[in-house]
């Protein structure tokens, strides 16, 4: 009788103890998992996320004991994580700024090392039905920059079937994106973006939204081109020749908005990280750069 009356209390107490024990065990296990394994953590560019993913998958076949964890978020996110020392490698589709290098030095006491692992041309995408063929830097700036005068497609003397409102729907990237900063620096010449652009969270989302929106224009890495959207040629000035974002035009630097793709590490890479980066720069790694739609660094040419 007495035992029966007491049992709920005893049971509850036992449950609490059990829960606490489980929790403690779980925490300890988690701690071991992150510190002990030979894992490489990479974070950063959304432009490069497909490429980085392809590398990680292929590298599993080369070195099965090393697990490479990959995540996107934008070049700025990767660089911020590197400065905190939270990842070993940051991928970035823009150059790291000097003040960011300083921050990393202050936080971790190590110098940041840069590896150029490929090139990307920033393609300008429009809807398939859009008759536009060529666009100049000046026009792009007038469309995208604060105070720019181009807001309607008829300003460009273009009419698009299916685009009734005629407003140029600007599709851009969120401000943590390396693509966003590269575009602002090189096309808008550091002017600010016009407010009201649709700021997508990924390179692929830009292309997908352009595909669905007749009035749209957007910029994104050349690797995201699909047959469902149109990539237009870009000219630096009104009378200059216009180029399409192809591998040859990127390597010859004829295409005006091409950029280097980087990996950044804290200090000289060592052990597993060094092997991984060496492999990425080897022909096997560079083949994946071509396969995912980007331009490889020429073998033999040292990274910038």
């Amino acid at each position: 009788m007495r035992n029966h009356r007491l049992s709920p209390v005893g049971f509850l107490a036992a449950a609490f103890v059990l829960a606490a024990a489980l929790l403690a065990a779980g925490c300890r296990k988690g701690g071991d998992g992150t510190t002990g394994s030979a894992g490489i953590q990479m974070k950063g560019s959304d432009t490069m996320v497909n490429l980085v993913q392809a590398w990680a998958e292929e590298y599993r076949k080369v070195a099965p004991q090393v697990s490479v964890e990959v995540s996107g978020g934008g070049s700025g996110v990767g660089i911020a994580a590197l400065i905190r020392g939270a990842v070993q490698i940051a991928s970035s589709s823009r150059d790291m700024k000097p003040q960011e290098m300083d921050q990393a030095r202050r936080h971790t006491g190590k110098e940041v090392r840069e590896f150029t692992v490929g090139y990307d041309a920033l393609a300008i995408y429009v809807h398939k039905e859009n008759p536009l063929e060529v666009i100049t830097f000046e026009q792009l700036a007038e469309i995208y920059a604060e105070g720019g005068r181009l807001t309607q497609w008829k300003d460009l003397k273009i009419s698009i079937p299916g685009c009734s409102g005629d407003e140029i729907i600007r599709i851009s990237r969120q401000s943590s994106s390396g693509t966003y900063e590269f575009f602002r620096e090189h096309v808008l010449l550091n002017r600010d973006f016009k407010l009201g652009s649709r700021d997508m969270n990924g390179s692929k989302e830009v292309v997908e939204l352009v595909e669905r929106t007749p009035c749209a224009i957007g910029y994104s890495g050349m690797g995201y081109a699909t047959p469902a959207v149109k990539v237009i040629r870009v000219a630096e000035r009104a009378n200059a020749p216009a180029f399409e974002p192809s591998v040859e035009n990127t390597l010859s630097r004829a295409y005006p908005i091409a950029r280097a793709l980087h990996l950044y590490t804290l200090g000289d890479p060592q052990g597993a990280v060094k092997d991984y980066i060496d492999w990425i720069l080897s022909p096997a790694g560079q083949k994946l750069v071509i396969d995912t739609g980007y331009v490889p660094v020429r073998t033999g040419e040292p990274g910038k």
Binding site: R2, L6, F16, G74, S164, S176, E181, R198, T213
Partner: protein, 328 residues
């Protein structure tokens, strides 16, 4: 430091509470319980008490933390509270002229959550009334299970549906130039709120004693009259709580609106314009903002602002509910 006296008081209270029941049995000369049971009970009571009070501690410390992260920006030259709340220019990472104005984001949040609540409330109150009063027991069970399932759909899945399914439908049938807009965000958010409001409202209706229904029936009221004249007034408090929980969800939801509203900083001129909400802005930008930088602090200031809004909504709810109770 500050919570020690509270804990002490609590402890004393817990002791006093546990003392009284143990002293009684001895007076009636019942067999003494083993020592471990007494102490176990005391410890458990203390634990449960702490769990209850911890909610207050957590809320206080969250607010304290957010405000501590945000506060230093108030002294910055580039930040003024007036421009923060009154300007639409949001250029946190500008290379030439950094400006922090969240008016467009506030308006965006208001439009999207307002639309969501407008769509969700009639639908969910209607379905709650149907489930509780009009449908048969078998259908009732099926509907309740389905609605609970609907409430368990993760918000990122809703966002994906907004991005791929409803946005296309809106382009096709509403003639919008871009599918990701206020209407899309509002629809998705309404779909997310409906199961929550419905299940809480249904509980509130169920809590109305059957004697009310029987009395109304005896007086010759029709089913509709019972709902309209008896149940709704009787369950007023619970229904209000359901709606306000829905509003809270609508304002606080992040991932789904981030994906379905188009994320454009502008004051919308209609339902078919893209907007950006306060929560989506924090989610999209906090990851890149270097810790302790000005941008980071301004985002935390946005968090403080959101916190105050939610607090006011809850306060309003509390006051109305109290008012309703007093009237009874």
């Amino acid at each position: 430091m500050r919570h020690y006296p509270t804990m002490g008081r609590l402890h004393r209270e817990a002791m006093r509470m546990t003392d009284t029941p143990t002293s009684k049995p001895t007076a009636v000369a019942r067999p003494q319980r083993p020592l471990w049971a007494i102490w176990g009970e005391k410890a458990l009571e203390l634990l449960i008490r702490f769990a209850g009070v911890s909610a207050i501690i957590f809320v206080m410390s969250i607010f304290f933390f957010i405000f501590r992260e945000a506060a230093p920006v108030l002294e910055s030259d580039r930040f003024s509270l007036g421009r923060f709340l009154g300007s639409v220019e949001w250029y946190p990472t500008s290379a030439t002229n950094v400006r922090y104005g969240i008016l467009a984001l506030i308006v965006g949040t208001a439009w999207v959550s307002g639309l969501a609540v407008l769509i969700a409330v009639p639908f969910s109150l209607g379905s709650a009334i149907f489930i509780s009063e009009f449908c048969g027991p078998r259908l009732k069970e099926a509907l309740k299970v389905v609605i609970e399932l609907l409430a368990a759909v993760p918000s990122v899945v809703w966002g994906f549906i907004g991005l791929t399914v409803t946005s296309r439908l809106i382009v096709e049938y509403a003639g919008a130039t871009v599918g990701v807009n206020v209407l899309n965000g509002g629809l998705i958010l309404a779909l997310m709120c409906i199961p929550i409001i419905t299940s809480i409202a249904e509980d509130a209706l169920k809590a109305v004693p059957d004697s009310y229904r029987e009395a109304a029936l005896a007086l010759g009221a029709t089913r509709w009259q019972i709902v309209y004249r008896v149940l709704l007034p009787a369950a007023k408090t619970g229904l209000l709580a359901a709606v306000l929980l829905g509003v809270g969800r609508a304002i606080g939801e992040t991932m789904a609106v981030l994906m379905s509203t188009g994320h454009a900083v502008q004051i919308p001129h209609g339902l078919l314009d893209s907007v950006r909400t306060l929560t989506a802005n924090i989610a999209a930008e906090l990851g890149e903002a270097p810790a302790k930088s000005e941008h980071y602090r301004v985002l935390f200031m946005t968090g403080v602002f959101l916190f105050i809004i939610t607090f006011l909504v809850n306060l309003a709810a509390d006051i109305t509910v109290r008012g309703v109770r007093k009237q009874k």
